[in-house]
C-alpha cells in the first residue's frame, strides 16, 4: 500500500560560484559601508549604471547578515504620501525586471498585498490611502470583506470577532521575494562587475579632513576613498557620530518569525496594522510573520517574547486555520526609525559622505529603488529627484513625510 504524503519542491541550486573574497585595497573611488540589500544594490548600480567599479562594500559581519536576513520580505508601493509613492513605485518597477537584469533567481512573486481595515476610522484612513494611490497612478484596488475572502479564503471575515474586517486595499503587483537570493544576486553581479565585497571588515572611524571625507579606519587597516556612502541600517547613528554629525534616528529591535513547512493555505500577503500582524506563506510552505518594533532602543538583534505572543493571538483571530502551526524560529533585526517613519537619504554635512538610512520596518521592498537612486546621488554628488524630499534638512524646515499611519483614533 503506497502512502501519499505531502511534499514540497526543493529550491533550485545557487550558482557554482558567488563572489571573490579579496582583502581590501589601499584606496577606492567609493566605499559603501554595509553589505545589506541597500549597500549591495548601491554598489551594483554604481558599477552597472555609472561604470564606477573601483568600489568596496565593507561588511563587519557576513554579507546580508543584518536586516536583509531578518525581514518578512514584503514588497509593495501603495504608500500614502506622494514622495513615498515615488521611491517605492520606482523600486517595484525595478523589482519587475530585476531577476533578468541581475541574472539570478530571486523567487520574486507578485502574489498581491492586502492591507486590512478593522474600524470605521481605520477604514477611512485606508480609503484615503487607496485614493492617494489612484492619483499617483499606483495600482491599488479596494476590497469588500467578501472580496477579501475570495482572494484569501482563510481570512476570518465574521462580523462578531473583536475587530471585524471591514474592507482592504489590495495591490496586485505587490508580493514577496526570497531575501538571501536577492542579496546574493546583487552581490554576485557587483562582484562580477569588479566591486570588492569585504566581509569581517568593521569601520572604526570615518576620517574627515576640513569638512571632506577621506576614508575609513577599519579592523583591516585604513582605506582611503574619494566618496563614502553609509548604508548600515540600525548603525547609522554610530557611523554619523564617527563622522562628527548627528542624525534624528533611534535603533529599535524588529522581530520576525517562521513556522515549519505546511500545506499551502495562503497565496497572497496580508497586513493588518490595527491588529498588529502581517503574514505570507513562503514558496516551500513556511509561514513568515512580523509586526511592529519593540518599544526601546537596542542593538542586541533580539526582542521580547510578549511581542511574538501578542502577534500570534492576533494571527489566530484573523486566520483560525493557523492554530496548529508551530512557531519554529524567531529573530530580530535593528531598524533605524526617523521621527516621521520615513527614510533619511542623500547628502550629509560632510562633503562626499552620503547617507542611506531610516527605512525602519519597510527597507526590504525599497532595496532596488534605494540602491538605484542612491547610486545616482553618489555618482552626481547631488540628491536624485526621488531622494531629495528625504534630506536631513526636512527636520529643520518641518516638511516631514509622516508615514506613521494617517488618522489617530478620535471622536
Amino acid at each position: 500500500m503506497t502512502i501519499k504524503r505531502r511534499h514540497t519542491e526543493e529550491l533550485p541550486e545557487h550558482p557554482d560560484f558567488l563572489w571573490k573574497n579579496p582583502s581590501p585595497k589601499k584606496s577606492y573611488d567609493v566605499i559603501v559601508i554595509g553589505a545589506g540589500g541597500h549597500g549591495l544594490a548601491t554598489a551594483y548600480y554604481l558599477a552597472k549604471n555609472f561604470g564606477i567599479t573601483n568600489v568596496a562594500v565593507l561588511e563587519k559581519g557576513y554579507l546580508a547578515g543584518g536586516n536583509m536576513g531578518r525581514n518578512t520580505t514584503i514588497i509593495r508601493s501603495n504608500y500614502l504620501w506622494d514622495e513615498s509613492a515615488g521611491i517605492y513605485e520606482k523600486s517595484l518597477q525595478l523589482w519587475e525586471g530585476l531577476e533578468e537584469e541581475v541574472g539570478y533567481e530571486m523567487f520574486f512573486d507578485q502574489r498581491g498585498v492586502m492591507t486590512l481595515a478593522h474600524s470605521v476610522s481605520d477604514l477611512r484612513s485606508k480609503q484615503r490611502n487607496f485614493y492617494a494611490n489612484a492619483v499617483n497612478d499606483i495600482d491599488s484596488q479596494w476590497l469588500t470583506p467578501e472580496e477579501v475572502k475570495k482572494i484569501a479564503p482563510i481570512v476570518n471575515i465574521s462580523p462578531d470577532v473583536r475587530y471585524p474586517v471591514l474592507g482592504a486595499t489590495y495591490q496586485a503587483r505587490g508580493g514577496i521575494a526570497k531575501h538571501d537570493w536577492v542579496a546574493w544576486g546583487y552581490a554576485k553581479a557587483a562582484s562580477d562587475l569588479g566591486v570588492d565585497l569585504i566581509q569581517g571588515c568593521e569601520v572604526k572611524k570615518v576620517k574627515v579632513e576640513n569638512g571632506k571625507v577621506v576614508g575609513v579606519d577599519t579592523n583591516q587597516g585604513f582605506i582611503s576613498a574619494n566618496k563614502v556612502a553609509m548604508a548600515a541600517a540600525g548603525h547609522t547613528s554610530v557611523l554619523s557620530e564617527m563622522a562628527g554629525f548627528r542624525v534624528p534616528l533611534q535603533s529599535r529591535p524588529l522581530q520576525a518569525l517562521v513556522s515549519e513547512l505546511l500545506e499551502h493555505v495562503l497565496d497572497t500577503v496580508i497586513m493588518s496594522g490595527a491588529v498588529h500582524v502581517y503574514v505570507s506563506q513562503a514558496h516551500k510552505g513556511e509561514l513568515v510573520m512580523g509586526a511592529g518594533t519593540d518599544a526601546y532602543n537596542s542593538y542586541a538583534q533580539r526582542g521580547g517574547f510578549h511581542v511574538i505572543e501578542h502577534q500570534l493571538a492576533s494571527a489566530l483571530e484573523l486566520f483560525p486555520i493557523f492554530s496548529r502551526a508551530h512557531l519554529l524560529r524567531t529573530w530580530g533585526g535593528i531598524v533605524d526609525i526617523a521621527p516621521d517613519a520615513s527614510p533619511i537619504l542623500g547628502l550629509t554635512p560632510v562633503e562626499n559622505l552620503y547617507i542611506n538610512s531610516g527605512w525602519g520596518t519597510g527597507g526590504f521592498k525599497a532595496t532596488p529603488g534605494s540602491g538605484w537612486a542612491f547610486a545616482d546621488t553618489i555618482a552626481h554628488n547631488r540628491a536624485h529627484e526621488l531622494v531629495k524630499p528625504y534630506s536631513l534638512d526636512r527636520f529643520v524646515s518641518g516638511h516631514l513625510i509622516d508615514e506613521h499611519g494617517a488618522a489617530g483614533v478620535a471622536h
Binding site: 534624528p248 533611534q250 526601546y296 532602543n297 542586541a300
Partner: protein, 93 residues
C-alpha cells in the same frame, strides 16, 4: 522581557512601562530665541548610542512616575535607576 527597577515600586516587567528615549533633554528656556536648526535639535534629535545609555521610562500602569535609568543597548544590562532632578550616577563600566 526586561526587568526595570522603578525607584518607587521596585523591579517590574517592561510591559508596565512606556519608553521615553534619552534622559536630560530639557524644554528650552526661551524657544522663541532658538534658530529653526536649534529648535529641530530639541524636537527630533536624540542620542542613539550603542552601549550605555541614560534613558527615561514612565511606570504608566503602576505609580505613573517618570524616572531615569542607565541601560546598555547591546547587552540589555541595567545600571542604577534615579529620580528626575537628582544627581545622575556615573556611567556603569
Amino acid at each position: 522581557m526586561l526587568l526595570i527597577n522603578c525607584p518607587w515600586c521596585g523591579p517590574r516587567d517592561e510591559t508596565e512601562f512606556h519608553y521615553g528615549s534619552e534622559a536630560h533633554i530639557g524644554y528650552p528656556e526661551k524657544p522663541e530665541e532658538l534658530t529653526d536648526k536649534q529648535w529641530a535639535e530639541y524636537i527630533f534629535y536624540r542620542n542613539n548610542p550603542k552601549g550605555w545609555f541614560a534613558e527615561r521610562w514612565v511606570h504608566n500602569v503602576g505609580c505613573r512616575r517618570w524616572f531615569n535609568i542607565w541601560r546598555n543597548t547591546v547587552t540589555h544590562q541595567f545600571g542604577p535607576s534615579y529620580k528626575p532632578f537628582t544627581k545622575q550616577p556615573s556611567r556603569p563600566k
